[in-house]
Amino acid sequence: MDAATTQLIVALVGLVIQYGVPAVISAIDALEKDSITLDDLKTLRGLIKPPEQY
């Protein structure tokens, strides 16, 4: 296993710890999209909240 692969695995594990598996799968799906539609923009709108809601 090379250093880049190890780094990727460590990073993915970190993301899973932080967000959970469904969130990581969702992120991978979003970033793997070949083409986007106007419906996909709804995902972006729902991604974050105003600061006072955190």
Partner: protein
């Protein structure tokens, strides 16, 4: 803190694994990463406040920077939506301009948070958004 850095790193890595398809796609991914970065940063801020490392007054100031970023983020989505409907050069330029503004808001937000607790947030957004050029000529449609 370490978790935050690892998670941000992972988002960057995931982003670099994605091939560039077209302007709308790249913009979508850029905004997605910008959203994830903000979400993670605000969760961190909230956690730090719970730990007593950020005061209510400081949090209020952070929220001002966060609100500016939140508004720029939504403006970037609006501009992308418009671009996807009309697909003209003027709208494309507007999208790029708003993304650059979003970068600036992020830096201001990160600089303030880091002035309270050093090295909490990266002052630059992950790779994809930094790749937004100042000229539209190099962006494939």
């Amino acid at each position: 803190m370490r978790k935050v850095k690892i998670a941000l790193l992972s988002v960057i890595i995931l982003a670099t694994l994605v091939s560039c398809a077209n302007f709308s796609n790249n913009t979508y991914k850029t905004i997605y990463i910008a959203g994830q970065s903000y979400d993670l940063a605000m969760r961190t801020v909230s956690e730090l406040q719970k730990q007593g490392k950020i005061t209510a007054a400081q949090r209020e100031e952070i929220n001002k920077y966060g609100t500016a970023y939140y508004m720029a983020y939504n403006a970037s989505i609006d501009s992308l939506e418009l671009y996807m409907r009309v697909e003209d050069q003027t709208t494309k330029d507007k999208v790029i301009s708003i993304l650059q503004e979003l970068m600036g808001k992020w830096t201001a937000f990160a600089v303030y948070v880091n002035s309270l607790i050093p090295n909490t947030i990266s002052p630059k957004l992950p790779k994809k958004i930094e790749d937004v050029p100042t000229s539209t000529s190099v962006i494939p449609k």
